[in-house]
């Protein structure tokens, strides 16, 4: 019988890991990688949704759950959250130096309003995309043309993301209590660890001795 790895950690000992592996780890299936989703958070009521970052998940519901864990944790205010599968977001090119990406969009709205899209703008490089509004158009290109007309921006727009409304999973307003930090979870906050009194008492005690 081969030797098992000895650890200080009883849990590791219980795993019965071999001391030496017989072979390297088997290569993984090429699909052994979850899809990516982009998460957006609305910090307060009446504030726009803002991109917060990606998550990896096997489906939309799990993406929502992971995004909640990752991006609405303590100290990060959250009023609502939504996720969109990365491949369902169309992006324009990037511009800089006060040039708006809309300057390069010359087509006029087609007038065909058969589909609903949601539009996000990047107004400051280094910051994240913010939701600007909904447009009805026939396709992504057309959605950009409509957004250019409906959402003129004083500041240059460096990059635009567009997604079909049906591809967005948003939290339900009725479930808003999921964002609240429970009182009994105060141990997860820095404020729960005040200790200056203890240090002071210790110093007084040791200086007397």
């Amino acid at each position: 019988m081969s030797m098992t790895l000895k650890s200080l950690d009883p849990r590791v000992d219980r795993l019965g890991i071999p001391e030496e592996w017989a072979s390297p780890m088997a290569p993984k299936e090429s699909l052994d990688q979850f899809e990516t989703y982009e998460a957006f958070v609305q910090m307060k009521e009446n504030k726009p949704f803002e991109h917060v970052g990606p998550v990896h998940a096997p489906n939309e519901e799990m993406a929502f759950l992971f995004a909640k864990e990752q991006y609405s944790r303590r100290g990060m205010f959250c009023h609502a959250l939504c996720v969109i599968k990365t491949e369902n977001i169309q992006t324009t090119g990037f511009t800089d130096n006060n040039i708006s990406i809309y300057d390069s969009i010359e087509s006029m709205p087609s007038g065909d309003e058969s589909e609903s899209f949601e539009v996000f703008h990047l107004l400051k490089r280094g910051k994240q995309h913010k939701y600007v509004g909904n447009v009805n158009a026939k396709d992504f290109e057309d959605a950009l043309a409509v957004a250019k007309q409906n959402y003129p921006s004083e500041k240059p727009v460096f990059n635009v993301w567009v997604a079909r409304s049906e591809h967005i999973l948003t939290s339900d307003d009725e479930d808003r209590d999921i964002w609240e930090t429970l009182k009994e979870k105060q141990y997860r906050e820095a404020i729960d660890y005040r200790a200056q009194d203890k240090i002071k008492a210790f110093k007084e005690r040791t200086s007397e001795a």
Partner: protein, 328 residues
């Protein structure tokens, strides 16, 4: 949590010769203006490579760093400490996810990074190759290793790569709980019974050398290319981070009646610099190259989790799923 001592790839003098000089000038001008670089922007191959390596090492350090602390969850003294340590370890694993995503925007998939960790191709913070013998070791890690990581992470959050900076801002916000929690644990032991104080002092003695290694080799012997500083990949030198750490935390260690196991450690009042015995960099090299007390165990545990957790991923996988690199 992560320190300096990044293992950067050796750079060839010709590495930049193949880049388009005009694009390179625009790229550098953007960084000089204090603007962030975003995933879709043009960037030199060298910048991309070094950033992937750095962010990936940082992510692995979060995952591996959860192991020596995770060990103590079930044996933490009392219900409240158990809950808090569990929350902290969960945070660290979450940090790894944020960082893997940031590295991924540069074109290396998360699966590939996880594979490279398990095969030993990628490194992680050397300090986690040491074992946590007692509860006091876990307290040392929560307070001082995290403190060291914060020094480094706050510096790096001012760097040039947008997705990494944004991930670091989130991470630093959570680290403040870790730091306070860790300090609280250390104070409890250091101001407690004789036995508790001895236990805490023994942990400080064990961890001091790895802690000094944590920030990486001295600038005198570590050839950190000036270009990584100019491109704001590396924001503070190893020695600067080490000095800042000593300045902030040695007085806090001393005020608890604990000693630091280095008789040469003192602040030179004229230069304002801390002086100390030169850390043993041969030991550092030996451990980072695989010969530390826990290297084998750390990777074996990761590999076991990966192999035995396969059925979970298979059960969750959507058969038509298509992988797409995250956007920002």
């Amino acid at each position: 949590m992560y320190g300096g001592g990044n293992v950067f790839e050796a750079m060839k003098a010709t590495a930049l010769a193949e880049e388009d000089p005009q694009k390179l000038a625009e790229f550098e001008a953007r960084i000089d203006r204090g603007e962030k670089i975003e995933p879709k922007d043009w960037m030199p191959q060298l910048y991309r490579k070094q950033l992937i390596r750095m962010i990936e090492q940082h992510a692995h350090s979060e995952i591996i760093g959860a192991l020596p602390e995770g060990t103590w969850i079930t044996r933490a003294p009392g219900f409240k400490r158990k809950l808090a340590l569990m929350a902290k370890v969960q945070d660290e694993v979450g940090h790894a996810q944020l960082l893997y995503s940031a590295a991924e925007t540069l074109g290396k998939s998360r699966e590939q990074m996880i594979d490279d960790l398990i095969t030993g191709k990628s490194k992680y913070s050397n300090i986690f190759n040491y074992p946590a013998f007692t509860w006091a070791d876990s307290c040392f890690i929560s307070w001082l290793v995290d403190a060291g990581a914060i020094v480094n992470q706050v510096a790096n959050s001012k760097g040039s790569y947008g997705p990494y900076c944004r991930a670091l801002e989130r991470i630093c916000a959570e680290e403040s709980f870790h730091l306070k929690y860790g300090h609280h644990c250390v104070i409890h032991l250091a101001t407690g019974t004789k036995k508790q104080r001895e236990m805490m002092q023994a942990a400080v003695n064990r961890w001091w050398a790895p802690m000094m290694h944590f920030f990486g080799p001295s600038d005198k012997i570590s050839v950190h290319s000036e270009i990584l500083m100019r491109w704001k990949v590396k924001m503070a030198s190893n020695d600067e981070c080490r000095q800042q750490f000593l300045d902030m935390y040695v007085p806090k260690i001393w005020e608890l009646g604990l000693t630091v196991p280095d008789e040469n450690l003192k602040k030179n009042q004229e230069t304002g610099q801390w002086e100390f015995t030169e850390p043993d960099w041969e030991e550092f090299k030996r451990v980072i190259n695989g010969d530390g007390p826990c290297n084998k165990e750390r990777l074996a545990v990761r590999r076991t989790a990966e192999e035995r957790g396969r059925w979970v991923r298979e059960a969750l996988l959507a058969p038509k799923a298509k992988y797409v690199t995250p956007l920002a």
